[in-house]
């Protein structure tokens, strides 16, 4: 009888079928035991398959980016001995986050990176920034500092298996991570490079330069200025924003003021518990000059001098708040606004100030106010809030509060807390437009005269929570803006289908959908 089944056995290709046939055969004899063995094996086989599929997904084996090589680039002039750069309290407070900027260029401007002129210009630029080539270490108080030991930055070369346009339309946040060296700081950072540059080439031309760093070292402005300086050195132009290293004039105030709103806000923020991580996704909306102009005209009577940031932040805030509205209908809606305060201090800090110069503040509105009074009202409230927080007092008091969190004996600063989020945060990057000449705009981080970057992405690490909205200038001059929204995946999906947003005909980039 077994012989009848033999051809079937020999022909069947999968173990479950094999076992099934054996099972039928031995059914009369040892059916029960065989059945159990069969089930066990089948389950293991299936779960084995599932495991393989799981690792297949998780290891991104179908990732479109292949890393080719990794090397270290050093500065062109040696740093002197015993040079240490210590971080301010604000720098420490940003310690939980990391910053990742990607510049997308249409033409491949760096050929043969090994010995190319661009690597020489990178070395030249790095000699102006000894902190960038140093390594993190603890100083005598136990706080983080940079030992400027001239060790260099890591530069990674990679290839992307798709064209630039295809990437911009179809990649999502997870894939964009592949274009930067997104490492977390290890326990012993003495051999870890805090700044990492990745140069990725697209098929058919196109280049992405990704810069990653810890947020302790630099805020988005500093990092962009660093990349800008690289291109200016490459084109043998004088650097418009040379690095400036003194900390803000905080230390000159004899009487500190910790009773302001900002200090209280920061206090509340520091006490917030860490939220469990939720899967985030991001999308980028590009609004043209004409659209923004139209929008500003529409709200002109409610808010005559609204800036594009005001109106876009108001728009996205109201739409996102609506999406979350399902649960608690009568809660107050709040938005944390983050601004760069280089120009807000008296006297203003130079744009080239190296370090963190961000100020967070919160604006709350009642849900009826948001829903009922329309976009113009929200924009007006936002505008009012922005002009109020621009007072130096608030900013300095926030800094003083951060300074005051140190342990009296050792001088060690308290542990950092999450600054971007977990509540909904909106970052104003409009200051990247510096109207001081043709090379002021961040989009003029060009290597060649006409090949400006097609797009610039800013990603911040560790912003899981309610979400992050970043308003940046658009590629052309004028009122056009690019808004990157990071939200929990489901909410983002709904936002991308929101009529109010789509009504402005934005161009959708890097959202992972076609």
């Amino acid at each position: 009888m077994f012989l009848n089944y033999l051809p079937l056995l020999l022909h069947c290709s999968s173990p479950p079928a094999f076992y099934f046939i054996c099972y039928i055969y031995i059914y009369n004899k040892l059916s029960y035991i065989v059945y159990v063995i069969y089930l066990l094996h089948h389950c293991l086989f299936l779960s084995g398959n599932i495991y393989i599929i799981y690792t297949y997904i998780m290891s991104n084996s179908n990732s479109r980016v292949t890393v080719l090589s990794k090397l270290t680039t050093v500065s062109s002039r040696p740093v002197g001995p015993d040079h240490t750069h210590s971080f301010t309290a604000l720098d420490h407070a940003m310690g939980l986050h990391s910053l990742h900027i990607i510049f997308y260029f249409k033409d491949n401007i760096l050929n043969d990176f090994d010995l190319d002129h661009s690597r020489v210009s990178l070395s030249e630029t790095l000699s102006l920034y000894p902190q960038v080539t140093g390594r993190l270490t603890r100083d005598e108080n136990g706080n983080w500092a940079v030992k400027c030991n001239d060790a260099g930055v890591r530069v990674v070369k990679a290839l992307v298996g798709t064209t630039l346009d295809e990437w911009l339309s179809s990649a999502d946040m997870l894939e964009e991570k592949d274009l930067t060296v997104w490492d977390d700081m290890p326990d012993d950072p003495s051999t870890w490079s805090p700044f990492r540059v990745q140069v990725s080439e697209f098929e058919g031309g196109g280049l992405a330069i990704g810069l990653s760093c810890t947020h302790m070292h630099a805020d988005p402005t500093s990092a962009t200025i660093l990349l800008n300086s690289w291109t200016q050195v490459h084109r043998r132009q004088p650097i418009t924003h040379p690095p400036f290293y003194s900390p803000p004039k905080l230390h000159l105030r004899p009487v500190t003021n910790l009773q302001t709103q900002s200090a209280t806000f920061y206090e509340t923020k520091s006490k917030q518990p860490m939220q469990c991580t939720v899967q985030m996704a991001s999308a980028t909306f590009r609004f043209s000059h004409a659209t923004i102009k139209q929008l500003l005209l529409e709200i002109h009577e409610k808010c005559p001098d609204a800036t594009p940031f005001d109106v876009l932040a108001a728009l996205f805030w109201s739409r996102v708040a609506r999406l979350k509205a399902g649960k608690n209908n009568d809660q107050r809606r709040s938005l944390t606004v983050c601004v760069d305060f280089r120009k807000l201090l008296r006297p203003p800090l130079p744009v080239g100030y190296y370090g963190n110069a961000l100020h967070f503040s919160q604006l709350s509105l009642g849900s009826e106010e948001m829903e009922g009074c329309g976009l113009g009202h929200v924009a007006e409230r936002l505008h009012h809030h922005m002009s109020r927080i621009e007072e130096e007092e608030e900013i300095l008091s926030a800094m003083e509060w951060l300074e005051s969190r140190k342990d009296e004996e050792t001088g060690k600063l308290a542990a950092p807390f999450r600054m971007y989020g977990p509540e909904l945060t909106c970052v104003n990057m409009e200051h990247m437009i510096v109207k001081s000449g043709p090379t002021g705009n961040e989009y003029t981080a060009m290597f060649d005269e006409d090949a400006g970057p097609v797009h610039v992405s800013y990603n911040v690490g560790n912003v899981e929570g309610e979400g992050l909205i970043m308003v940046m200038p658009g590629p052309e001059e004028g009122l056009g803006r690019t808004v990157t929204v990071t939200l929990p995946s489901k909410q983002l999906g709904e936002l991308c289908e929101d009529e109010a947003v789509l009504g402005l005909h934005p161009k959708l980039l890097l959202s992972g959908r076609h």
């Binding site: 090589s69 090397l71 270290t72 050093v74 040696p78 020489v120 390594r135």
Partner: protein, 496 residues
Amino acid sequence: MPPILPDFSNSVKLKYVKLGYQYLVNHIIYLTLIPVMLGILIEVLRLGPDEILKLWKSLHFDLVQILCSSFLIIFIATVYFMSKPRTVFLVDYACYKPPVTCRVPFSTFMEHSRLILSNNPKSVEFQMRILERSGLGEETCLPPAIHYIPPTPTMEAARGEAELVIFSAMDSLFKKTGLKPKDIDILIVNCSLFSPTPSLSAMVINKYKLRSNIKSFNLSGMGCSAGLISIDLARDLLQVHPNSNAVVVSTEIITPNYYQGNERAMLLPNCLFRMGGAAILISNRRSERRRAKYRLVHVVRTHKGADDKAYRCVFEEEDKDGKVGISLSKDLMAIAGEALKSNITTIGPLVLPASEQLLFLLTLIGRKIFNPKWKPYIPDFKQAFEHFCIHAGGRAVIDELQKNLQLSAEHCEASRMTLHRFGNTSSSSLWYEMNYIESKGRMKKGDRIWQIAFGSGFKCNSAVWKCNRSIKTPVDGPWADCIDRYPVHIPEVVKL
């Protein structure tokens, strides 16, 4: 308080005695000639012009006699000029300056070491200790392939480095001397550890489209002293070929020889060897006599390979993991000292002034006949040479030679500063040192330079050059942008 003054006056007396002795012995011929000339002059004056005329008329000169004597004189003069070895000139040379992107500061080197040898913290510690005491600076350079994590020493990368170094040096040489590639008659390339097929000399001929009847040589495997071996070869060839130009390229290609294992004796070269190269134009043409910088006086080569210990002291072999590296034995310094003594014994009689040789001879006779316990007299080479270029093989080598030859710190300055700025660039380090002396403006006409190089095998080679014309600063070369910072004080141990 011990009395210092009598000692001082004693040493001053000794100094003057020594000086007097040297002047006497070195210029003995002049000192004996002058009284003889004075005597003749007095005799002539005493005799008066009439007496001299009478003396002249009394000599009967036959035409045959005159012809024979003049023929003899001409014959002797011809034989002398024909058998004289051709003078060999060094017209000019160019050293390779690596780009700033190849710079390797200590921290980068140690970081890469830690990342690559993560399983062997002891080896990393060893490398750190070596680097701290090495005498290298923060501006030495490694080729691009070594900057990768992990390093990518492919053959293509090695060829790339060879092309970069050799072609840059040769372009620089062509620019400096105005030499046309078609005028090169002899080409000698020496690179010890990288020897591809076709050879590096073929690579140069291909790049610059040199003549098809060029005499090209590629010396490989001869270690750090191969530079002077090439110069010796060029000199010998130029004796045979009149009116010729020879280009000598000395370099060391680091890429394929970066040791990636854990054996300590083999990690040492990683810490010391750096990228560098030099191209030298040697000629025996009379037209170059005016603008040549140096004249080659002597080349002395000593080989201690007959001794087994000397043969094995720098040995390329596989470690227990199968990785190839160059292991340096612990008695390297002792063997180097021996080789140096041997070399000095040969070169001494050629270069030392008569006073030193006499003293050495007397001490030697005294030791043999009277008392073997007499200290051997170490001749004072500072009297024979103005400048010393000691191969920058490492701090220990320079210290050893300074002690053996009793040189001052200023004499060894060129070697130490080259080690600090460029590292151990193997056969080309002598040319960087020479360039340092020129850039400092210390090279004057008539100065004699002694180049000493050590190499695996174990070899000790010396070359003696005489400066043909004073060299004015600023000198265009690898030291042009940093010469003002030198000399620097190099601490015994750099804290990493």
